[in-house]
């Protein structure tokens, strides 16, 4: 693979996707400390929001240590060069949250829907595109669930609403490099030349780096990852590793590799409540194609009702659940426990 000379933008997810393994309990002070260090390390973009996006504070997904507004205000003030993004899932957050985040000083809004449901993002992307200079990104989750042709139809919808960048998102960490290549290649040939393409990976099958490289080769120029991999499931593409690989391959990221390594080791790893790694349940997510943030919910329900979390996750995959259906997990566990007790 020859990627020499390519320039890409990396986007760190620790302070958004990383909220999942932290049960949304990262404090404002921790966020400011990490964001400041990332700014100094030359990381161009970071995302800061509840794990499930703006307005995600809930019984269903978990109440965070502070509000989105408190996090965004503090982090936007703390960084000098790094741009801050926020995530918004229509159905959870609204345009009111979007306006609030813009007022806090974000540079990028990313509007996320399930891969086949891009049309629910119309009002949010249209409004975002009206803000002068606001980088507006459409983000299609669980992209492994539909074909490349179907995916491109949805990406084009988001482009048509006004997104200047669209993402292919492997929320389940299910995709293999060939699938990433096929999808990004088709998107690159069908979308407008000035529409950027991004890839967001999860490391559940340890494919984060390989998939991101495949995406870059096929024409993606924004790559999500997180230092030390802090993110849902087995985490996101470990960003310091990706940056190192990029240096070896002659891909420009603009990130200071050693500084990034130090943040991962000295700030992110000590923050983890449990190792974020490809354990049995995270591997099951990748293998069965299940939304990565279901991980801790399945573990908790398994413990409460005396079930196997792997069995719960496999069944969630069989039922074709999508992002946001965390409420399904306790419901399913109750069904499974009843079935076991009546057997």
């Amino acid at each position: 693979m020859n990627l020499t000379g390519k320039k890409i933008t990396v986007h760190d997810m620790c302070l958004r996707d990383g909220m999942h393994p932290k049960r949304h309990q990262i404090t404002v002070d921790e966020m400011v400390q990490i964001a400041t260090a990332m700014d100094q390390a030359g990381i161009p973009m970071i995302e800061v929001t509840h794990g499930d996006g703006l307005g995600g504070a809930s019984v269903n997904y978990g109440f965070p240590a502070a509000s989105d507004q408190e996090y965004l205000t503090a982090v936007c003030k703390a960084v000098k060069h790094t741009k801050v993004s926020a995530l918004l899932l229509p159905g959870i957050g609204t345009v009111d949250h979007l306006k609030m985040a813009v007022d806090c000083g974000i540079s990028t809004i990313r509007v996320a829907t399930h891969c086949s449901e891009a049309d629910v993002s119309e009002q949010h992307i249209q409004m975002a595109a009206k803000y002068d200079g606001l980088d507006t990104v459409g983000f299609l989750m669980m992209a492994h669930m539909i074909s490349a042709e179907e995916l491109v139809v949805q990406l084009k919808l988001m482009e048509g609403f006004g997104a200047n960048c669209v993402y292919i998102t492997d929320s389940a960490g299910y995709m293999l490099p060939d699938e990433v290549s096929e999808k990004v290649t088709l998107a690159r040939s069908e979308l407008r030349a000035d529409t950027e393409i991004g890839f967001h990976g999860h490391h559940n099958l340890a494919m984060g780096i390989a998939n991101s490289l495949a995406a870059v080769e096929a024409g993606a120029n924004r790559i999500d990852g997180s230092l030390a991999g802090l993110g849902a499931g087995a985490g996101n593409t470990p960003l310091e590793v990706f940056v190192a690989v990029c240096e070896r391959m002659g891909v420009h990221t603009g990130v200071d590799l050693f500084a990034a390594m130090d943040i991962a080791e000295d700030l992110i790893v000590p923050l983890m409540d449990q190792p974020v790694r490809v354990d049995r349940d995270a591997l099951t997510l990748g293998y069965a194609g299940v939304y990565s943030s279901f991980l801790l919910f399945a573990k908790r329900s398994a413990e409460k009702y005396g079930l196997s979390s792997r069995d719960i996750l496999v069944e969630l995959g069989n039922r074709r659940t999508v992002g946001g259906q965390e409420d399904m997990i306790e419901d399913l566990a109750l069904d499974m426990a009843r079935e076991r007790d009546s057997a």
Partner: protein
């Protein structure tokens, strides 16, 4: 037919068509007009086949006929964005507006909780909240009539095939209006609503989860009894309203897991979100019709 009140349906999409099929069975309502904006759309053609007058000129195409045809009730199944205009025009002709969009300009009505209150106001515009609201607010009320609910949150999961373009374009109105209904009708201190659209095949039956956080430790037996009683009331008009699991008690959290299957009048049974909305709207309209027929309520132009 003289003992029925004539009605018009605005919006020949999923909701409007399902409502029409149900209204044709009503003892109190006679649907006579279907209003759309696209000539020869499938919804208008279907309504015409069922014997209704149709217009593709929107509400403006209906207005000249309202008084002449004796229409006293209108249902709006379009979208929150266009509803206020529709309502103003219809009310000016002295017809009552039953609003099935999440516009929420009139008082909320969730039949098993506050239908009689809504009727007592004799409002010329009554709002049916949202499908997710109709499916969950009765159970928030079932908990809050036992003890104080500080916070209630609902998650409605609907199949992709049952979420029409109106719902998709106005998803924020769904979450806002449902949250407001949870507070105002459900009796929760603070309300939150989440909607998830799932494209699985075969389509999943509408699922609704209700989480309440009570102020004090929940009275498990009183809440369970109240929830069961409320479910039975909703089942009177939506027989497929089913408790799947719960109430689950976990500290001050009370969680109830529901499934809502429809009658399969227009879309198949998975689209319980259509049924719970149209059945609630029709039930509300029937009470209005009975009040009008008995002379207790005379709609006047507003």
């Amino acid at each position: 037919m003289s003992n029925k009140i004539k009605a018009a349906i605005i919006g020949p999409g999923n909701i409007g068509t399902d409502l029409l099929i149900k209204a044709l069975r009503s003892d109190y309502i006679e649907p006579v007009w279907m209003v759309g904006v696209i000539p020869d759309s499938p919804g208008l053609s279907r309504a015409a086949e069922l014997g209704l007058n149709t217009t593709a000129d929107g509400v403006d195409g209906l207005i000249p006929h309202l008084k002449a045809d004796g229409v006293q009730l209108c249902f709006d199944a379009t979208s929150a964005a266009v509803h206020p205009d529709n309502s103003r025009k219809v009310n000016a002709e002295g017809a009552v507006m039953i609003d099935l969009t999440p516009a929420a300009i009139g008082p909320f009505c969730v039949p098993p909780v506050n239908l009689s209150d809504a009727m007592a106001q004799q409002a010329m515009n009554v709002n049916m909240v949202t499908c997710g609201g109709q499916a969950t607010i009765p159970l928030v009320a079932a908990v809050s009539r036992v003890q104080k609910v500080a916070y209630a949150e609902i998650v409605a999961t609907v199949s992709s095939k049952s979420a029409g373009p109106g719902t998709r374009k106005n998803i924020d109105e769904f979450t806002r209006t449902t949250a407001l209904g949870i507070e105002q009708v459900g009796g929760a201190g603070e309300g939150k609503a989440i909607i998830v659209i799932n494209p699985a095949e075969p389509p999943l039956i509408m699922r609704d989860t209700i989480h309440c956080l009570t102020e004090d430790t929940p009275d498990e037996s009183a809440i369970t009894e109240s929830v069961e009683r409320m479910i039975a009331e909703v089942q009177e008009y939506v027989p497929g309203y089913t408790l799947k699991n719960g109430p689950v008690f976990d500290g001050k959290r009370v969680s109830i897991y529901m499934e809502v299957a429809g009658l399969g009048d227009f879309l198949p049974a998975y689209a319980g979100n259509l049924d719970i909305m149209t059945a609630a709207g029709l039930r509300t309209a029937e009470l209005y019709a009975r009040e009008i027929l008995s002379g207790r309520f005379v709609p006047v132009a507003a």
